[in-house]
Amino acid sequence: MPFFLFALFFLLYPSSKIFVGSFEDSTSHTFTFQYVWTLLHDPTLINAYWISIKISLITSLGGGIFGFLLAYSAIRGGLPSFMRSSLMTFCGVASNFAGVPLAFAFIALLGQSGELTKLLIALGFSPYRYGFSLYNFWGLSLVYMYFQFPLMVLIIAPAIDGLRREWIEAAENLGASAFQYWRYVAFPILLPALLGTMILLFGNAFGAYATAFALTGGQIQLVTIVIGDQLTGNVLFNPGLGYALALGMVVVMAIAIAGYTLLQRQTERWIR
């Protein structure tokens, strides 16, 4: 079958190369742990992973919470029903609007001569004078949020739909307060869906490259940026280390996706 040939040649073979390359000495072609060892002991590389993990955690939490609030408002918040369908359409577009154009959209809004920056300066409040910058870690997080929260809305919406009206009525009849309903009914049911989706957002941010590349030109040393540097040879060139870096990313992603699949199964028990 052409499909398997294609997948083997262009997907599985290059991927296995990363795995093999991480453990194979690049000159003598013998088995070695040296690259993985270097990776785990090099403070710069560990730091790159740490920055990537930090930004993924922050934006998946932030995007997750904001996305959930938005989705819940649109679906169960008593808003007119057209709000829901337009929100879904916007989110479909926004979660696909990323990379270079997204980076530029934020430069135009909040860059040093961005529209909002100029407006704020005219109002006597210059954000850059108070330590704000679009080009540092927090600025990048703000930009990442733009594709994180719409993804949350899209994926969490079916779970919110699955919260049956009977449950809230039953809770009311039994004299539960809103807090008790959330604490003992809705939250435990939604928890696996919420966690699972946030893990997916984590992976989404962890693998992101183009946005950070276009926004900061590689100033923020995310793992993806470091791998890119390895490819162009911007840094001390060490092929084996590049493989090990890439393998580390795949491991983190695999853990994230496995966690998501597991939690997704939990969700399906309650929500059909």
């Binding site: 008593g78 733009y146 493989y243």
Partner: protein, 260 residues
């Protein structure tokens, strides 16, 4: 216990709308400022007058179209056979089609460059490698939409009917099955189109002309023209999503993709 929540709902919605539209509005305003003191569409005119832009953009369209055509040729027969004859391969194929989610694009391109820049396969400069890479990236969306399309029609009955009328396999695939799942294929195709046009990483590291690397380069060089490009790119994404929504009205959820 719930009515007080409406105000909060409006609050979160307003915040969401602001987050969504402010960057776009700013980009649009920015793109009109090419001439000092007045608002003009000069930046757009400039962009279209750059021959680099036309070349890079045309290449991106070419990559996208090739990706879609070859992708359809690979995925439709596979999904069809798996549904009809080889259900035991289903899990394996689903696993493979989801792999691009686990392997970030930058890691994938790293593997591609390293694998195909040394013997026995020295094809790193070939445009075919780029298209193959795009097919892999689009696989989760394309294969899935084809598969969803096949689920909605009665593959077995259609095949048997065509066979009993004397049709060969080529006729069955391209004149019976394909037209029946064209909506699913089209929505996959437009999503693929949006992804390929906006894709930076593969084109950048396989060093091929494309829209996104050009835009990343232009951001370093100019102020207002990139804004015009961003607006055009956004309009294109919007158009693709709109077309998909139009096709898939009332069923399925919004497409989710990523080229971040």
């Amino acid at each position: 216990m719930k009515r007080g929540g409406v105000i909060w709902s409006w609050f979160w919605m307003t915040l969401g709308i602001l987050y969504f539209f402010l960057p776009l509005l700013a980009t649009f305003l920015f793109s009109l400022r090419a001439v000092k003191g007045v608002l003009t569409f000069r930046a757009y005119q400039n962009v279209f007058s750059y021959s680099d832009f036309v070349t890079n953009f045309s290449y991106s369209v070419l990559w996208a179209v090739l990706t879609i055509i070859v992708g359809i040729l690979i995925f439709v027969p596979t999904a069809y056979l798996v549904r009809l004859r080889l259900p035991q391969f289903r899990t394996a194929i689903e696993f493979i089609t989801l792999l691009p989610f686990v392997i970030p694009a930058i890691v994938y391109v790293f593997g591609l460059v390293r694998t195909f820049s040394q013997p026995p396969f020295l094809i790193v400069d070939s445009p075919a490698l780029l298209v193959a890479g795009y097919i892999v990236l689009s696989m989760p969306y394309m294969y899935r939409s084809v598969d969803t399309g096949l689920r909605a029609i009665d593959v077995r009955t259609l095949t048997e009917a065509a066979q009993s009328l004397g049709a060969g396999w080529g006729t069955i695939l391209f004149r019976v099955i394909l037209p029946n799942i064209r909506v699913a294929i089209l929505s996959g195709a437009f999503l693929t189109f949006a992804i390929v046009i906006g894709e930076l990483i593969l084109a950048e590291y396989l060093v091929k002309p494309a829209f996104a690397p050009y835009m990343a380069y232009l951001i370093q060089q100019k102020a207002y023209e990139p804004a015009a490009l961003a607006i055009m790119s956004f309009a294109l994404t919007w158009a693709c999503m709109g077309i998909i929504n139009l096709f898939g009205r009332g069923r399925g959820q919004a497409p989710i993709a990523g080229g971040h």
